[in-house]
Amino acid sequence: MERKKLDIGLYGFTGCNGDQLVIVHSEDKLLDFFGAANIKSFSLAKSDNDESALDIAFIEGSIANREQAEHVKHIRERSRMLVAIGSCAVYGGIQSMHVKPSWEERFKKVYGNNKLDVRTPTPSLPVGEVVKVDFSLPGCPIDADQFFYVFGQLLRGQTPAMPDYPVCAECRWKENECLLLKGIFCVGPVTAGGCQAVCPSHNLPCLGCWGPVKEGNADSHIALLKEKGYSLEAIQNRMGMHAGAGIPESVKKLLGA
C-alpha cells in the first residue's frame, strides 16, 4: 500500500541560504526529493507555493527581525514537526556571535540614524529561542548526505541518529596528522563532527562551524590552548566565532556574555 506523501515546506530566514542551496545543489537527488514528498513550499526553487498545513517544516536561518519571528510562529502553528537546519537556525550563526559593542551600537554604526520601517530588526536569535524545535541539524552549511538521511528518516517517522563525537574522531579516521600537536590553533576537539574533518584534511585548522559537540570539554581545551601560548582574547574569538548562541558556558564566562 502506498503511503500518503507528507506535506513539506522549506523556509529561509536570516543567513546565506547555503543550507537550502546544499539541497538544490544535490542535482542527482533533486527530482527524487521532489518526488518523495509533497513539497508544498520552497520559494528558493519555485514560485507556486502553498502556505497551508504541513507535516514537516524545515527552517534555515536565524530570526533577525520581528516580522520573521511572526512568520516562524505562523509556520510552527501549522506544522506537525519543525526542523532547524544549519548553524544559523540551530545556534543563530555568525550573526549571533558574542561581540562588543552591543547590537544596538553596532546597528547604529552600520545604518546611522536612518529610520527603518516595515521590517523591525532585532538581535539575531536561534529558531529554538522563538518557537519549539523538534529536531536540529547543524552545519555551516549542512552536509547533503546527512540532510537526505535525516529527511528520509523523518519521512518514515523515525528519529535520525546524529554523530555525538567531535571533529577529532573523523580526523583520526582520515589518518590526518594532528594540527594541535604542531602548535596550530584548532578547535576540532570541541566541535561537533559531521563534516568529515574537511578543514584539517586540507592542512587547515577547524574553525568550529558546526557548533559545539555534546559534552565537549571546553575548559580542558581552553587550558590546552593557553598552554600552547594563545591569548585569552584569541581563544574567545575563535571559540565564539561560529557557535553563536550555542557557545559552551565556560566560553560564555570568558566572553563575559
Binding site: 541560504n17 519555485k46 514560485s47 527603518l116
Partner: protein
Amino acid sequence: MREILVEPLARVEGDGGITVRIDGDKIKEVSFNVLEGTRLVETLVVGKTPEEDVSIACRICAICTLSHRYAALRGLEKALGITKLPPKAQLMRTLMHMGEFVESNSLHVFVLALPDFLGFPSAIAMAGKYGNEVLKALALKKYGNKIMRLTSGRMIHGENPTIGGFGRYLDRTTLLELKKEAQEQIEFAELGVQLVGGIDIPSYFEKETVFMCCEPGDGEFGVMGDQIRISDGKTVPVEEYRSLTNELFSPHSAAKHCLYQGKPYTVGAIARLNNLGDRLKGRSLKLYEKYWNKRWLKNPVFNNLAQAIELVWCLETIPVLVDAILEIDEDPALVKPSRMDGEGVGAVEAPRGTLYHNYRLKDGLVAEANLIIPTGQSLEDIDKYLRIAVEELLKQKADDQKIRMQCEIIARAYDPCISCSTHMVRIERV
C-alpha cells in the same frame, strides 16, 4: 488604488520583494525591496585575525561564497603586504572562481530565470516538456559545484583558499578530469546560448545606463582586476571605489543604494560583456558577435544571455588553466605576510557584479571593514527599469498579472543576491 505585491520574490537567492502601488493611472510606488534580516557582518569581523575574517566574510552568501572569499583574500593580502602569489596559487584561484561562475550562471539562467520565459513556475515543472535541457543544465551546474568543492574543500564555505595560497592543491588526475569535463560540457553551454538567445525580449522599458566591471588589465576578458572599467570610457583604480559607489540611504527601498556621478548604474554579466565583450576569443567571441547588439546597452534582461555566453567562456578557459597548473610540479607554501598593519581593497567580479572588500589591519587584526556588494550597486537601476516598465504597461492598460510578471522578469534578470546585501533593510515608501 491598485496594489501589486510580490512577496517573497521566488527563485531569487534571499528574501526580497516588489511593491507596485497605482492610483488611477498614476504610479504611487514601484520598488524592489530587500526584506533580509540584518547581520552587521562588518562589525563581526573587527578584532578578528585575517583567517577568521575570511571564514566569516564568505558566509555572507552561499552562492557567491568564493567571490566573497576571493575579494576578502585580495583585500587582506594587500593589507598584509602580500603583493604577488606564486603562479600555481594564482591559477588555482582563477580556477575556483570559474567554478563559481559556472555554478551561479547556470543556476540563474536555466533554473531561476528561464522558467519565466517558457511559462513555468519552476525548473522542476519545466522538466516535463524540457526534460533533456533541464537535466543537462543541472549537470552543468553540478560541474561548477564540483570545481568549487574540489578547489575550496567543500561545496559551500570551503576553507581551502586561505591567506597566501591554498591549504592543499589538486592532483593531476583530478585536474585532467576537470579539463575533460569542460570540453564535454561546452556543447550544451552553446545550445543554452541559442535557447536563451531565441527568446523575445520586449523593448518598451529600454533606456541607456552606465555599466561597471573589473578591468583585468591584461587586455583579455576576465573577472578580476585592480581597476574598474566604466562604460563612459574611464578606468579608475579599485582603491578609489568610494568615488564610484557613493553609498546613499534611500528612503524608499532602504538599502544603501549606489550612484555613479549621481546616476544609477548596472553591474554583472551584461556590464562585463558590454565593456569587455570584444576581448572574448574562440567560441564565446562568435556567440558574442552573433547575439550582442546596441539594445544590450539599454535593456537589463539581456543579462540572462550575457551569463549564458560567459558560461561558454568559462568552459573555454578552464582547460587552459588546467594545462598551465599541470606545468608546475611543486605545490607552493603559503606566502607569509610582510607586515601586520596596513589597508587593502580587494575587488573581484562576483557572477552578479563587482564586489569590494576593504580592510584596515592593526597589529594583525581587522580594525575596520567596508564591503560593497553587487546587488546594492544595481538597486537604483532595478528600481528605474521597474518604474519605466510599469509606466508603459499602464499606458497599454495591462492587468495586474502582466505587470507582476514583467516586474519579476526584470528584477530576476539582475540575478539579485539578497543574502549578500550587507547594507540592506527595507523602508517602504508611502
